[in-house]
């Protein structure tokens, strides 16, 4: 049954590993699943929120810019419709108007110009020397002539600076004329530049050919393809707005928000690094991951400690079980030996009886007169006596065997242990004197009763006392017998100052037929009988021994709740048969 410690340790460490693994699986997996789904949900809603926010932002600004353009156009329209070609052709009047406009709106309007149908600038007010400039071949002029109101793309024009033109076409005397104003590029650009989100979010405007309408930004020119597809997409969109997440030329993930303005001629694009846009989410995610990691770590630690503890407990239980098994085996051994012994004892009893009687018969015959003169009479008598003595010894042995095996008369009664011990000491006093052994007792008063068979308990104590006396026979010594109460258990200690029992023998001391006494002196049954009796009572018998110092037997017996005070008369009724094993 006993495994070697290495296999056993392997088994326990495997058990620990399994338990840790299972605990980790059942706790970490749900945690991860929950965390992941929460994070996923959070990410989705956060993304939506960011997108919504960006869309709103871009829309607002688009409307603002659209509004700005329309207002500028309205300003020019107002001028053209209020004053007419003649007034405005007067350059000083035109300058006044420009000043008024600049006073109202700041330096948004750079200059004003009146152009006739042939493209000649008939009047000009502004910082450049553009009087009488001819615009007949300029694309903006051609476009402006086609529609009543016109806002041009940004272009360099005659002055070589980026600018754009707001123009209104009116009729005077059946001929078309145009009032145009140059809008300061910087002022316009600032409107767009104001859109700044996070570290990397910025906006710009493109025309339908993908040409930049605002100040250049370092990355824009390299991503024209993206913008063209964006334009296509935005145009197909109902609300003329689109938001996508895509990788740019360098493979960086970016968010693009685009919307059309200026009646679909321009497209405002807002772009931001996805990482930047979701930076808050990333922070949250990092925090969450750290928490999850710490949680997992805590779980792992707890799982490890818990498993260790449980496996320790299992190991202890296993050891306990093994001990129990050994005890069961011991008890089984006792039972088998008991049956065997009973059989042998019965078989032996009859021949021994005959032998003893035949010897007695010889003894009888020797008393006849014819033998009285025999020279060897005394020797014969001695021999007969010896046969009878040895026969009696056989009888003792068989009786011991039988009392060991006997399905005892199980008359369990209340036994006062102290009285029992006192009586047994009286039995043994003579022998103790002979062996130069002093018997000391320290018996606790008012001990409770023990439920036991009187004769069995007697047998146990007598056995222990006899063994102790045997052990001290050569040198003499002290026999200590103490009783005391320990919780609900009565503890009896029988200790001698004999030579002690070697470790190797100590383990076998309760085995049947184990004896260290010389051949013929002991049957080796005494202690195994004691063991059987005490176990049957639900008690314990233990032995401690130190070589050269002595041996102590400790018996623990379960007690009755009542006390045994005044109990002394219950031990007298021992039958003659039972007395025989006290000899």
């Amino acid at each position: 049954m006993r495994q070697d410690p290495k296999t056993r340790n392997n088994y326990y460490s495997m058990l620990t590993r399994k338990m840790v693994l299972i605990m980790l699986l059942v706790s970490v997996i749900p945690m991860l699943l929950v965390s992941w789904s929460i994070l996923y949900e959070f990410r989705t809603s956060y993304r939506e929120k960011v997108f919504d926010h960006l869309c709103e932002l871009v829309q607002k600004h688009t409307q603002g810019i659209d509004g700005f353009l329309k207002e500028r156009l309205a300003d020019i329209r107002f001028l053209a419709e209020t004053f007419g070609f003649e007034d405005l052709s007067d350059e000083s009047f035109l300058r006044d108007r420009l000043e008024t406009l600049q006073k109202d709106y700041g330096p948004v309007f750079v200059d004003l110009g009146v152009i006739n149908a042939r493209g000649l600038q008939v009047a000009y007010a502004g910082p450049f020397r553009l009087e009488r400039a001819l615009y007949s071949s300029a694309p903006w002029f051609k476009n402006a002539m086609k529609t009543r109101y016109f806002i041009s793309d940004v272009f360099l024009g005659l002055r070589g600076l980026p600018h754009f033109i707001v123009a209104v076409r009116e009729n005077w005397n059946g001929e078309a004329w145009i009032l145009r104003a140059t809008i300061d590029f910087g002022a316009f650009n600032r409107l767009v530049e104001n859109i700044q989100v996070g570290r990397t979010g910025f906006a710009f405007i493109l025309n339908t050919h993908g040409e930049l309408q605002t100040k250049a930004h370092e990355d824009i020119f390299r991503d024209t393809k993206t913008y063209m597809s964006l334009l296509k997409r935005t145009r197909s969109q109902k609300n003329r707005m689109t938001i996508v997440e895509a990788r740019d030329f360098s493979g960086k993930k970016k968010i693009y928000v685009s919307t059309l303005l200026k009646d679909g001629q321009w497209m405002m694009v807002f772009q931001q690094d996805a990482g930047d846009a979701f930076s808050e989410f990333k922070g949250t995610r990092t925090t969450a991951l750290v928490i999850i990691l710490l949680g997992a770590l805590a779980i792992a630690t707890v799982a490890l400690i818990l498993s260790k503890m449980m496996v320790d407990r299992i190991a202890r239980a296993d050891r306990e079980k093994e001990r129990m098994n050994e005890q069961v085996i011991q008890a089984g051994k006792l039972a088998v030996i008991g049956e065997l012994a009973a059989g042998i004892a019965h078989e032996i009893n009859n021949p021994v009886a005959i032998m003893v009687e035949e010897a007695g018969w010889i003894g009888d015959l020797l008393q006849d007169e014819q033998f009285q003169n025999s020279a060897n009479l005394e020797e014969l008598k001695r021999a007969v006596g010896q046969i009878r003595t040895q026969g009696r010894r056989c009888k003792e042995i068989t009786h011991k065997l039988l009392s060991f095996a006997r399905k005892t008369d199980p008359r369990i009664q209340d036994v006062g242990v102290n009285d029992l011990i006192k009586e047994l000491i009286q039995f043994s006093e003579q022998r103790a004197k002979y062996a130069r052994v002093t018997i000391n007792t320290r018996l606790q008063e008012d001990l409770p009763f023990v439920r036991a068979s009187q004769s069995e308990l007697q047998q146990v104590f007598l056995n222990l006392i006899n063994n102790a006396l045997d052990a001290m026979e050569k040198e003499g010594g002290i026999l200590n017998i103490t009783t005391h109460l320990q919780g609900d258990y009565l503890v009896v200690e029988v200790s001698d100052t004999g030579p002690g029992i070697p470790e190797a023998n100590l383990q076998r001391i309760f085995d049947p037929f184990f004896t260290t006494k010389p051949v013929g002196k002991g049957t080796g049954l005494g202690l195994s009988i004691c063991y059987g009796i005490i176990k049957k009572m639900g008690g314990e018998i233990n032995v401690k021994s130190a070589l050269g110092k002595g041996t102590t037997f400790t018996i623990t017996l379960p007690t009755e709740p009542r006390t045994a005070s005044g109990q002394s008369g219950g031990i007298q009724n021992t039958s003659s048969a039972k007395e025989s094993h006290h000899e």
């Binding site: 009973a342 009886a353 005959i354 003893v356 009687e357 007695g360 009888d364 039988l402 008369d409 025989s580």
Partner: protein
């Protein structure tokens, strides 16, 4: 040594151990007890049919018949005859049962002869 002076006691000894019965009868007759030997319960019953005895000694454990059965039959046949039982060590329970059934007493085997003789006289004395 008052062998001739007194009329010997008549004893019926029933035990299936022949050696035991032989030696016992010799030793008892030397003590002025005349023994009729029976090696089985049935043999004992037959012997009792033929004559009267002062006392019977019956082994409790025999092959053909339980000693207690023999005792019961004896008690119906000759209720006034005392019966002493012999029992192995450890079978005292059966012996006590025997006493309940009317046996005079019991002795544990192997017993001292003197003890048995004393018991026999006690039993006979009690009857008289």
């Amino acid at each position: 040594m008052n062998n001739g002076a007194q009329k010997p006691l008549k004893l019926l000894l029933i035990d299936d151990e022949k050696g035991f019965v032989e030696v016992m009868s010799k030793r008892l007759s030397k003590r002025n007890i005349q023994v009729t030997k029976a090696l089985s319960g049935t043999g004992g019953i037959q012997a009792l049919r033929g004559e009267d005895f002062d006392v019977a000694v019956v082994d409790l454990k025999m092959e053909d018949m339980d000693g207690l059965e023999v005792l019961k039959i004896f008690k119906t046949m000759v209720p006034q005859m005392p019966v002493i039982m012999l029992t192995g060590h450890g079978s005292e329970e059966a012996a006590r049962e025997g006493i309940r059934l009317g046996a005079f007493d019991y002795l544990t085997k192997p017993c001292e002869l003197e003890e048995l003789v004393q018991k026999i006289h006690e039993a006979v004395g009690a009857r008289r």
